[in-house]
Symmetry: C2
Subunit: 211 residues, 2 copies
C-alpha cells in the first residue's frame, strides 16, 4: 500500500494527531507497546475506527500485543510530515499573527515561519522571536529568494481575500486561513480554515441543547 498517494478522509487525518499525542504520553509513562483497543477506550473513539485509521498508514501491529509505541510515534510523525521542515510566510502581524510568531511549538510539528509581512510601516524592520517583519511589498522578492509556498493568513477580515489573491498571484501552494472569511481560491491551492470562532459557535449551540 503506497500510503503517500492514498487519499485519506480528512476526519481520519485529523484524528492521527490524537493517536500521536497519546503514544507520546504512553512512551513517557514507559509503555513500550500500545494497542488500538486501549487507545480507543482511553480517548473515547470506536476501536474499529482507530484500527482503520492506523491501517491507512504504513504500520503493522502484533496480534495480542499492539503497536510498538516508538514505531507508532515515528510512523505517524513521518506520515503527517511533522518530521520535515515546511517553511512559511505569515501575513498580518496583529494579536493572532504575533502569537503564532511566538509559538515555537509549531516547529515541532514541521512548520517554520521564516518571515512575516504587514502593511504597518512601523513594524517593517522589526522582528518577533527572531522572525523578521517586512513591509508587504517585499513579499514577492523574498518569495522568489526562498521558494516558500505556504502562507499563513492572519489579516483583518476585510483584507483577507485581497491578501489571499496576492498569495495566489505569487504562486503559493497552500494557505492556512485563520480568518473567519471563506476565501476563494483556484482548486489547485490547498486551503485549511482554522477559525476559532466556528468552534465557539458549535460549543454555544451544544450547550444550549444540553438538558
Amino acid at each position: 500500500m503506497d500510503s503517500t498517494q492514498l487519499h485519506l478522509p480528512e476526519p481520519a487525518l485529523r484524528r492521527l494527531p490524537w493517536y500521536l499525542s497519546y503514544a507520546k504520553l504512553a512512551l513517557e509513562r514507559g509503555e513500550t507497546t500500545v494497542s488500538s483497543t486501549q487507545i480507543a477506550k482511553d480517548i473515547g473513539v470506536e476501536a474499529s475506527m482507530v484500527a482503520k485509521d492506523l491501517s491507512y498508514i504504513n504500520v503493522t501491529g502484533k496480534t495480542r500485543v499492539g503497536y510498538s509505541t516508538f514505531t507508532l510515534i515515528e510512523v505517524i510523525e513521518t506520515f503527517l510530515g511533522f518530521t520535515e521542515t515546511h517553511k512559511a510566510f505569515l501575513f498580518g502581524v496583529g494579536r493572532l499573527g504575533g502569537a503564532l510568531l511566538q509559538d515555537n511549538g509549531l516547529r515541532q510539528f514541521g512548520l517554520e515561519i521564516i518571515a512575516a509581512f504587514d502593511v504597518k510601516f512601523e513594524l517593517a524592520g522589526t522582528n518577533i522571536n527572531h522572525i523578521p517583519i517586512h513591509y508587504i511589498d517585499r513579499m514577492n522578492e523574498l518569495r522568489q529568494q526562498t521558494g516558500v509556498d505556504i502562507g499563513i493568513l492572519t489579516v483583518p477580515i476585510n483584507q483577507a481575500q485581497e491578501v489571499a489573491d496576492m498569495m495566489i498571484q505569487a504562486d503559493f501552494k497552500a494557505i492556512w486561513n485563520f480568518t473567519p472569511i471563506r476565501i476563494r481560491v483556484p482548486n489547485n491551492i490547498v486551503v485549511q480554515n482554522t477559525s476559532i470562532y466556528a468552534h465557539l459557535a458549535v460549543m454555544f449551540n451544544r450547550l444550549r441543547m444540553n438538558p
Copy 2:
C-alpha cells in the same frame, strides 16, 4: 420550526460563521440584500447547501431578492449565541493562553474570559489585558462565586487530562480544548477540540497529494 431545539449537523454550524462574515462585509459595501446563490458563488459552496443551512435558522428570504443583509446578520449572530455574553475561565497561561487573553475579538463572538489560572506561583496576582491570573487552587472558590461553566484548556499536554478532570469535578459544562490531546469526559460535558496542529497535518498531506 423551533430552531433552539433542532439538532444542527456540526458541519452546518461551522459554516454559519462564514455566511455571517460574508453578510458583514456585504453590509460594509452597502449591499442591503444578499442571496444564497450569490453567497454560494462567492465562497465556493453549493447553493443548495447555503439554502439548506439557512433554512435551519429562523430567517426567510424573498424570492428574486434574497435575504435582508441586516436581518441575516442579526439572526445568525443571535442563533449562534454571539450576541450573549458567555463567561469563561482559562487554564494555563502559556504562549497560547496568553494570546487568547489578549484577544479582545473573542468578546465580539460572545465569549468573555473573566479569570485565568496557572500553577506558576509568580503569575498569581498579576493580570493580562485586565484579566486577573490566579493560582490554580483558587479555582473552585471563584467558580462558585461567579457561576462560570465554560473552561478554556491551554495547559501543556501532560496536564491536559488532569486539569480537565478538575473542571469536570467543579461542574463545568463545557471545555474548549486547545491541546492536541483528546480528553476523556462524561457525555453531558460539551467539548470542542481546537488543535491547530491537526490542520497542519491535513495541509501537509494535501500538499503532498497535489500534482
